[in-house]
Symmetry: C2
Subunit: 355 residues, 2 copies
């Protein structure tokens, strides 16, 4: 298994601490947590675990459809975004091109399923050059392009105009586009730039979304795929029954009704992302990249493992990006958290400068 | 998707009732529910959904290992038994032979993964004849044998002596055995006859277990695979991260400590299974098969759909076995429930006789 962020358990075991005592900047979860009232609601729903979930997830799909302005036939729910990513890759079943650096599971899942992977290194500043990418696609016709937007771990974002252009060109080349939008709800102009607005026009597109990051529910494991009906039907043929836990089903339905939470989150992330970016930029040895997500990638002038260990001793966990293809041990990723936590991180980083 | 038991939601929608108003004999869940105190425990643990689950599930695997008297390296946890079945079939990756009638997902998953399936019809009374099966395996060497024990939907059971013989012979023939033990904890002499006692000696065996049936947690989606370390390591390479929900992880750990619940369940099922078998046998047009599980298959002298619809109008859902390969619409499967429910079912069946 690949090491990912958010493994507070491993570090708690190493440090002989409780997982809750670790200030975790390695997982990119909404710092506001999940919508209020969810705990009470789940408490009153706990009896439901004695029944199988609705295998058709009718009500959950209806609410997701409403949320993204599509129809339930365009949606398949699953056990976190990762299950939908795996299911989609198996269903598309063609060799892939993957712009890097990005989430490492795409390539791992392709390889496990015996699909070849070509990495396409992003340009300077990790800004994806669509024109160059399309040229590459024209030269060697891959069957599948996998994109993360906004991209994890760089925070870079392709908005709707270049995205539409990309879909137009890939459609001509018979390339299927798998678009992971795990973080899209944190972007400035959401929902304007989301790929879900394009699935009706491009049958070669499947968008992956989740409740993990924006709705603060990583423990729940709830994600969904959005695509034209034909592709969703193909996914369904392969999908396993009851893949979403009953409480995850209920939690998903509950949080989709809290519009205030969504607006508050976007405002909050916007201001804290700005704060963190400004503060990081003010530290001489840290060079952050612009981000539209709830995390920031930074190049640092020291070995990321040295910094990681220094901060761990202070009870702070960051994402050492040394194991990302296309990055090295001069890169770290930091989640945008609540103001006090962000402030504490900045203070520790500044104190590190003085060693 | 294949229709399975337990879809109270679909029938509630058809009948315009609440799912909880349906008396469900179609899903084979422990009639005692889940262990006491679990709801309170989960309530106090609800904050955990804000964190990713431990990707290594260290504590859960430690407790499962203790429960089945093996080591954590022999265990992989997953999103219900079904995820482990799918993962194992993909990992073994060879053509399969499947004794029928049995759980239909095995064949479906093989076919989705482009693996050929040969059905091996069980003999008279649905008793699997191991000698005949081995003869068949010798003639045409399949790579994988998939068995459900006790078998769903027949209730038939192979105990440890023929099971060991089967593993010995399949090992010689280089055939991998996937053994689904979703219902094994309901058998009379549990844990004596479980295949988990054999994984140390047979590297060609993987046993699938779950918390769904015996611990009354179908909504939680928690299962595990048990095998030699080498096969578990191969499964891990393919497995997706965080496949078990945080609350399912906690629920699993909680229920494994309740030995009293386990003993009480076995006593209860034993006596109610006997009651139901005797009562069913007393009805002229119903011919139940012996069972070691918490359900009973019966041949009936009428069309199962007619009976299904009659009982549905009374708010009772049974499993029409018409869509099981190897069965037809003269078969139904009935869960062993609490005494009052079982009594009510018997009364309705008797009243049907008088129409």
């Amino acid at each position: 298994m690949i090491e990912h962020g958010g493994n507070i358990y491993k570090f708690a075991r190493i440090l002989h601490r409780e997982p809750s005592q670790i200030l975790d900047f390695s997982a990119n979860i909404n710092p506001l947590g999940f919508p209020q009232g969810l705990k009470e609601y789940l408490y009153h729903s706990l009896d439901s675990i004695i029944c199988y979930p609705d295998p058709d997830y009718v009500e959950l799909k209806r609410l997701i459809a409403e949320y993204i302005n599509l129809s339930p036939e365009n949606i398949l729910v699953g056990n976190g975004a990762i299950e939908l990513i795996s299911l989609s890759i198996q269903t598309i079943g063609k060799d892939a091109i993957i712009p890097i650096p990005t989430f490492s599971e795409y390539a791992r899942i392709c390889k496990v399923n015996k699909l070849n992977v070509e990495y396409f290194p992003m340009g300077k500043g990790f800004k994806l050059d669509i024109e160059v990418l399309i040229d590459r696609l024209r030269t060697k016709r891959h069957g599948m392009l996998i994109l993360c937007n906004p991209n994890n771990p760089t925070g870079g974002f392709i908005d709707i105009t270049p995205l539409r252009f990309l879909l137009e060109e890939t459609a001509k080349l018979d390339i299927f586009v798998l678009l992971d939008e795990a973080f899209v709800e944190f972007t400035e102009d959401y929902p304007k730039d989301s790929g879900v607005n394009l699935v009706k026009h491009y049958p070669n597109l499947c968008v992956i979304r989740c409740f993990t990051k924006f709705f603060g529910l990583p423990g729940m494991r709830l994600g969904y795929g959005v695509a034209g009906k034909e592709f969703i039907d193909r996914l369904k043929e392969r999908a396993l029954p009851w893949s979403v836990n009953t409480l995850a089903d209920l939690a998903g339905r509950y949080v989709l009704k809290d519009v205030e939470f969504m607006e508050k989150t976007r405002e909050f992330i916007k201001s804290q992302r700005r704060f963190l970016l400004e503060e990081l930029s003010s530290i001489e040895w840290i060079h952050p990249y612009p981000s539209q997500a709830n995390f920031i990638l930074a190049k640092i002038d020291i070995d990321s493992s040295v910094l990681e260990n220094y901060l761990l001793k202070k009870g702070i966990l960051i994402r050492n990006c040394g194991n990302f293809e296309g990055l090295d041990r001069s890169h770290i990723r930091l989640a945008v958290k609540d103001h006090n936590s962000n402030k504490r991180l900045i203070d520790e980083l500044k104190s590190f400068s003085n060693i």
